[in-house]
């Protein structure tokens, strides 16, 4: 009798593993029709896709790596139960472009340490997680699509401590999240100025800020946008100030895994399309009227000349703008004056307005 137990238990284990394996696979229908049927304009199907595009179409779902704990960028909104934010909207934009439906996104929250391996193992289609573009990440992790948010590292301190510059931080304990460029910049900037400090590292964003909030450290450093966003979550946000000094350049943007140029181009042009749409005055409200525009640049962007080589539906830009709006609208909705963060556009303005946003021609 006992002999028989062993093969039976092996079989059971195998069954359990098989069950686990099969659960995340696409739904039995498997048709990418969900995306196509949502398109506004009936058009012939694009040529059969390859690589990750085909994979995403087949799956009917975009797997988007996000932060998940950063208000304003990607955060679970307690009222609606939806993931909201600037980064989350760019995930939706990619889903709208590829699948025609901004809701077909599986958000995967990743901490700073997990995002690199997630890209390297190709388990996510795109990472849109306030990630700084650096040369080593570009070569090790994946390819960086155009920057969606130009940021810089800042330092948040308690107003009562009377700290007015980095030099005042001599001897301070500084909270920092591990696995970030800010952890390295901190050593670089303070080290080169000969300022002695003790880093207090945490793996998760929540612990980093609650440790600071509890008084475990005298300052906390991160991207300025993150500091502004997190300040709203502290127990008494008015007690904290962000120093004027900007310690580094932090261009944040989407990253796609290595090895699929066609997919990289899609993500890249989704970002460009939102910028171009703002420049051309195409908004969520008027995009439907703009489709037949006399302006050739606008009508081409909205699909009048068919697919220009990305392998998407010709009118994918219409889907994107209908879903999330142009860059300016995404920004205003998540970070602008109407929100708790009230972030000035600053360098994140169009090039025509003295900012850094510049989309190459869509033709």
């Amino acid at each position: 009798m006992r002999r028989r137990v062993v093969p039976v238990s092996f079989l059971l284990i195998a069954l359990v593993i098989a069950a686990c394996e099969s659960s995340p696979s696409p739904s039995p229908s498997g048709e990418p029709s969900a995306g196509e049927s949502a398109s506004a304009v009936p058009t012939p199907a694009p040529p059969p896709a390859e690589g990750r595009l085909a994979e995403v179409l087949d799956r009917g779902m975009l797997v988007c790596g996000i932060n998940g704990s950063l208000p304003g960028f990607s955060f679970l909104d307690s009222a609606s139960g939806e993931t909201t934010g600037f980064d989350a909207d760019f995930c939706r934009a990619v889903a709208a472009a590829v699948l025609g439906d901004p809701t077909l996104v599986e958000f995967r929250a990743l901490n700073a340490d997990a995002r690199g391996p997630a890209l390297q193992s190709q388990e996510i289609d795109v990472l849109i997680r306030n990630t700084t573009w650096t040369v080593s990440r570009d070569t090790d992790w994946g390819l960086f699509a155009p920057t969606t948010f130009y940021d810089g590292q800042g330092m948040m301190v308690r107003a009562a401590d009377g700290i007015s510059s980095l030099a005042d931080l001599e001897g301070a304990t500084i909270c920092v999240q591990t696995g970030t460029t800010t952890e390295l910049n901190l050593a670089d900037v303070l080290g080169s100025e000969g300022i002695d400090f003790t880093p207090l590292p945490f793996g998760e964003i929540e612990q980093t800020y609650s440790a600071y909030d509890e008084g475990s450290c005298d300052a906390v450093t991160s991207d300025r946008s993150q500091l502004i966003a997190q300040r709203t979550t502290l127990s008494n946000s008015d007690d904290h100030v962000i120093l004027e000094e900007v310690m580094s350049k932090e261009p944040l943007g989407p990253v796609v895994p290595h090895g699929d140029e066609a997919w990289f181009n899609i993500v890249k042009w989704v970002v460009f399309a939102t910028i171009e749409a703002e420049e051309r005055g195409i908004t969520q409200d008027n995009v439907a009227d703009m489709v037949g525009s006399d302006n050739l640049v606008i009508s081409r962007l909205l699909g009048a000349e068919g697919d220009l080589g990305l392998g998407l539906e010709p009118d994918w830009v219409v889907d994107v703008i209908t879903a999330v709006g142009n860059y300016g609208e995404i920004y205003e909705r998540n970070l602008g004056p109407g929100t708790a963060f009230d972030l000035d556009r600053g360098p994140n303005s169009l090039w025509t307005e003295g900012g850094l946003l510049y989309a190459p021609p869509y033709r």
């Binding site: 390297q120 670089d188 207090l200 590292p201």
Partner: protein, 396 residues
């Protein structure tokens, strides 16, 4: 045991598929093959996947500049040092917290294990409650509770609790005066060495006299007096005090100088000790209960006191049952110390993840981290096995 040759006369040899000797070997071969194929498949998977994704396997990055600071380090470290050095700092931190944890958890665990068997109803129930609550809640949750809900609720640096010494206690840690060696320390240490030699010499002489049946002349006591004399006299004679104490003082933000026990370290150590002690308590209780009741009754019949019964009769026998499972608790403690980052302590795993992230080489770095934990664990269990063999020799 039947003799095969004897049976051959009556029965023909069984066919190989029913011959237990053949079957045994065959089963082992099949299992070995299956495991081998499994391992080869996984390795091949890793190599292929890494190749496809353009990842390389190498350790050349260990010489590169680390570029990140580490908050607590037993050896001098700065961001200018190499990744290898950073890794070493992490390793030393892990070893330090593990060693302290093992010692303290053993003490607390034995205490609670004995308390669970106490005839006093309250003591036994409190100990049982402790074990059940601690053993059945996750360590990570306990660490968060200790760090955020207990230690960080201590007063801030400015409002430190001050004890004479001066000793400061606040949410950043416990700060005590730190010993500082001065130039005369070597001389004083030499005098102490001489004193120690005197004590050892006296021991030898005394034991010889005892063997020879002559009175021992209280040589041991005299030698200890000489030792203390040398120590105290030496302190005065060498001039400058060989040891000075550097008191902790308030800095701009933190308390500087002195010896500091950081909150992160304390939280991790406390968590590990409390958690592991609950398991050790059960091991100890099991060990004590494994000693036959007759032994206890015999000890009582001899008129041994409660303490002596435990010390001389119960523990030496219980230890044989306790040590093997105790070893695995020690190993668990070492491995659990990798939760350090939850409370901001820069242990081996934290430094490892930072390295993996900054170098973009997670596979080699994590392999190195795993290999290091493996070496620590194997060394711990080798030491415990040695000890185990020593106490098992007593068995007849």
């Amino acid at each position: 045991m039947t003799e095969p040759g004897h049976q051959d006369h009556q029965h023909a040899a069984p066919p190989p598929w029913r011959d237990t000797r053949v079957l045994r070997v065959a089963v082992q071969l099949v299992v070995l093959l299956a495991v081998g194929i499994g391992v080869a498949f996984l390795l091949n998977n890793l190599v292929t996947a890494m190749g496809e994704r353009g990842l390389t396997f190498g350790y050349s990055f260990l010489d590169r500049r680390a570029g990140f600071e580490i908050g607590e380090s037993p050896i001098p470290y700065s961001a200018d040092e190499s990744y290898g050095q950073a890794f070493l700092v992490g390793l030393l931190n892990t070893l330090f917290v593990s060693l302290c944890g093992i010692v303290l958890a053993t003490g607390l665990g034995v205490l609670i294990g004995v308390a669970r068997l106490s005839p006093n109803w309250l003591v036994a129930k409190v100990a049982a409650g402790y074990v059940e609550v601690i053993r059945n809640t996750p360590l990570l949750v306990q660490l968060f509770l200790i760090y955020f809900a207990v230690l960080l609720q201590l007063p801030g640096v400015r409002e430190s609790i001050t004890l004479p010494g001066p000793i400061f206690l606040n949410q950043r840690g416990l700060f005590v005066p730190g010993p500082q060696l001065s130039a005369t320390f070597g001389t004083w240490l030499a005098l102490l060495g001489v004193g120690l030699l005197v004590v050892i010499g006296a021991r030898i002489v005394a034991s010889r006299r005892e063997v020879a049946g002559r009175p021992s002349l209280r040589l041991g006591l005299l030698a200890w007096l000489a030792f203390i004399g040398l120590a105290v006299g030496g302190w005065v004679v060498v001039g400058d005090p060989p040891l000075t104490f550097d008191p902790p003082v308030f800095g701009r933000f933190n308390i500087d100088g002195g010896l500091a026990l950081s909150t992160s370290f304390t939280a991790l150590l406390t968590g590990l000790v409390i958690y592991t002690a609950a398991f050790i308590a059960e091991v100890v209780r099991g060990g004590i209960q494994a000693v036959r009741r007759g032994q206890l009754e015999a000890a009582r019949a001899l008129g041994l006191s409660e303490v002596d019964t435990l010390r001389l009769v119960i523990f030496p026998q219980a230890l044989r049952v306790i040590v093997p499972p105790l070893t695995s608790q020690y190993l668990n403690l070492v491995k659990n110390s990798s939760l350090a980052i939850a409370v901001g302590y820069p242990d081996l795993f934290k430094v490892g993840t930072t390295m993996a992230n900054q170098t973009g080489q997670p596979v080699p770095v994590m392999a190195l981290v795993m290999a290091t934990y493996l070496v620590i664990s194997l060394a711990t269990s080798a030491l415990m096995n040695l000890y185990n063999r020593r106490i098992q020799v007593l068995e007849r």
